[in-house]
């Protein structure tokens, strides 16, 4: 089980999410995902002045989400995928946990609609009653890993 070092990149994630919290900046990123573009090209689809766009670009740049090309005149901006990927990965852990769980809840609810809550509870109790090899002890996992942000971060699957 691979665990994520959350504390290392918390500040980075902050900057990423802060930069993403604006629709214009998200649109700029979506545009850059299709290929690099100059400030002028980026300003075009928006009803905004170039200085206003430049301000947004600065925020994105500070967050490391974009970088400038070296081409002297045009200075095209391009997308930097890494911080975005990290933010996505962070959210992905939540998504994995809840999608897997809610998928099972769908099945359970459909069973409950047919059989009622009582019998489902009893059925579960029968299943659980089978002895497990391990005796769970609360707190035993305290030092077992660095993961565990309040969001099931530790539930990550192994990387494929």
């Amino acid at each position: 089980m691979e665990l994520i070092g959350y504390t290392n990149n918390a500040a980075e994630l902050d900057a990423t999410f802060a930069a993403l919290a604006d629709p214009t900046r998200r649109a700029i990123l979506a545009r850059l995902a299709r290929g690099e573009a100059s400030v002028m090209e980026l300003a075009e689809p928006f009803d905004m002045s170039q200085p206003a766009i430049s301000k947004h670009l600065k925020v994105l740049e500070r967050a490391g989400l974009i970088s400038r090309g070296s081409e002297a005149q045009r200075r095209p901006r391009r997308l930097e995928a890494r911080p975005l990927a990290e933010a996505t990965e962070w959210l992905e852990q939540y998504r994995e946990f809840w999608e897997a769980s809610f998928g099972r809840l769908d099945s359970l609810l459909s069973e409950l609609k047919k059989t009622g809550v009582k019998s489902a509870e009893q059925g579960a109790a029968r299943k659980i009653a089978r002895p497990r090899k391990r005796t769970p002890q609360p707190g035993i996992g305290k030092d077992s890993g660095k993961s565990g942000h309040a969001g099931h971060a530790g539930f990550r699957r192994r990387k494929k």
């Binding site: 995902a33 998504r95 809840w98 769908d106 609810l109 996992g141």
Partner: protein
Amino acid sequence: MKNFGKLEITTPSGREIAFTRVFDAPRQLVFDAWTKPELLKRWLYGPNGWSLAICEIDMRVGGRYRYVWHHTNGTEMGMGGVYKEVVPPERIVNTQLFDQDWTGSEAVGTLVLTEKNGKTTSVNTVLYPSKQARDGALRTPMAEGMEMGYMRMDEMFASLPQGSE
């Protein structure tokens, strides 16, 4: 079995993350599934390999709960907290603290269930404490005076390349 709803992850404010999902069942059933240990053990355990081994619930204001998950590889995760509000079958507010949480500060979870035409919308929101929010992963720049609406990250990410080193 058809998945009725699509999971929606949003950030209603700089300190919150919310999980919204519609279920094809009346609210009381969804509430039972969220609050009865024997039912929770059947679904609240994320990816395959995990199980919700311990699920203790004392569902009244001031009562405690504790969940411990086990993975087949021996990993264990635990969390727990105290109920702040209990309004069956529509609303539960509790504190949430993971055993492995490095910040040592609690988040607050709010579950809100609403029913319409026999279908139930479940909104599960986690509010991070302000201090942790400052250091935490979902901080947003309220100070910059930005309008922070619902952010559908997944939609946006879908259009972006998945970078990897």
